[in-house]
């Protein structure tokens, strides 16, 4: 569930407000968006992936949890999924490294597949 929009990192671009499929955020013009409908968050991580400045943190827990902003920021976890996907300036998409074909190859040899 979405737990954090870091005010110190956010550039108020509003991209998270646009891309959230379940319309969780509200934003007043020029301000940092707020998490106004947290219950509607489906933990899909898309806001985090699209955030250009790694200002968001989606906890892997589908239920709400208490987090410590400093600890999350210091852990380096923010933006880690975006990095994993190879999104962002100077990176290239990790889809090019997708090794699913190795899985399909193995699965096709299993009984019942």
């Amino acid at each position: 569930m979405i737990e954090l929009i870091s005010e110190s990192k956010c550039i108020s671009c509003g991209l998270c407000v646009s891309v959230c499929p379940t319309n969780v955020f509200e934003q007043k013009k020029g301000e940092v968006p707020v998490i106004s409908r947290k219950d509607d968050c489906q933990t899909c991580f898309m806001c985090e992936v699209y955030c250009p400045v790694d200002a968001m943190y989606v906890s892997p827990n589908i239920e709400e949890e208490v987090i410590d902003e400093n600890q999350i920021v210091q852990s380096g976890i923010m933006g880690s999924y975006r990095k994993e996907l190879g999104w962002g300036k100077g990176r290239s998409s990790s889809a090019a490294l997708d090794a699913s074909y190795k899985m399909f190859r193995l699965m096709s040899k299993l009984p019942g597949h």
Binding site: S18, V19, C20, P21, T22, N23, R37, D40, Q42, T43, C44, F45, M46, V49, Y50, S59, P60, N61, I62, E63, I77, S80, Y81, E84, L85, W87, S92, S93, S94, A95, A96, L97, D98, A99, S100, Y101, K102, M103, F104, L106, M107, L110, G112, H113
Partner: protein
Amino acid sequence: MSKHLYNKAIKETEREADADVLVIGGGPSGAWAAITAAAKGARVILVDKGYCGTSGATAPSGTGVWYINPTPEEQEAAMKSREAMGGYLADRKWMLSVLNRTFSNVNLLDSWGYPFPLNDSGGKHRKSLQGPEYMRLMRKQVKKAGVTIWDHSPALELLKDEHGIGGAAGVVSATGNQWVVKAGAVIIASGGCAFLSKALGCNVLTGDGYLLAAEAGASLSGMEFSNAYAIAPVFSSVTKTAFYTWASFYHEDGTIVEGAGSQKGRSVIARTLQTEPVYARLDKTNEDMQKWMRKAQPNFFLPFDRLGINPFTDKFPITLRLEGTVRGTGGIHILNEKCETAIPGLYAAGDAATRQLICGGFTGGGSHNAAWAMSSGSFAGEAAGEYALNLGQNAAHRNVTGISSTPFTSKTDKNHQNNQVVKEVIKDVQAEVTPFEINLFRNVKNLKPSLQRLDSIWNDIRSGKLADVSNRVKARESAAMTATARWMYSSALERKETRGMHKRTDYKEQNPDFHYRLLTGGLDHICTRPEQNLLHREGVKG
């Protein structure tokens, strides 16, 4: 309260537009539909409840694709491989069309710049798509095709006249005001129904398109194949089940749950979960596999990494999360390879449409669904584009009216006051469709009273239970889920046998007398009947 959303006199209409084709839903099938309709020369508007590019089950995920070299031998093998599992309800003619279209569409993706991985000899592996990348590219292509995208614009009502469907009305999420699109043809590509179970990306999939279609008079098909459950860590939304092929499953005390598995052993997991927690560990993997697994599905590892769990060495608690018709195969009945419904001007594609035509009564993975989405989306887009262009320029000036069956409040308020009643309906519907003892292990003893309770929820909605709910989108979603559950259980009661994913504990065998697809439909009175003209009976097994 007013019965219909669309009101010509209403002043709150924020957006009004004409189009040749309106596409409802911006996941893979909607995106392909929009692109192909536009390529025919049609003016296309695509509305999405969320955001075209992130909405739906595909975008946050990763999916295999049923991409097969178009040689007769390889296609034959591909068609044969899942026919038995699906209870021989699929149709070879459809399978072949989908295989051919999927092959050419995936190659199109390549030409659009999708970064397929290279194999050792420099060729490309095109059997898998990474969700975020795929759908980001699709949005780009939709825009490039000249399609107008309205994000955060859920469709709540179809518009109709005596000639057929002529558009839709909905709500702009940011303001709660109304939008109206008058169009020569409408394609429903709004996905399946997972009943807000928080399966990855599935909470926008609440059966909205089924209800729209049924209100127009269209039928649904295969709604008994609607009890897919995915393995997921208890705490997590990530429902990627394939890797559990290499998992062992454990009781609390560390002993193995005998017979449990990701494919055929899923029932054993369900039975065990009814009385005790179940743990998993991906311990049938070796080091090499562990390395490429990370590269195959980064989203699978995300929750584990964030919680400091090593899924290869640590046991973690799992659950079975309901995916309903999203990974089931039921949906809107389509008449032909144009993806037409019986209602002129109304088309269906992707998970909103039935996937029995290529899967029968069973799907175990995304690859068929992904192929279906891109193929049926293309078929529907081309056909709807042609149909609308043939109607000519005046199609948008028809005198259409709204045909919703669920009353709407005329008070617009996007905030969540008086949402309690919506929460109640959702909770009540979930209590009928989530339990294994009703939906997974089906029998008349549990299905019948459950259907009666669902009927009574529906009757309350029809008599205005949600009519004062200011959030009209949520009101409509809960009505759609209620209706979906009723079609599911009506069909499940009718199919007195076990076939595909539909398991009856009171009729444990597949019965050749039921070797047909089942149609259902209707709103207050649900009518269920066999579909005639089953084309291929060569695979009948007693």
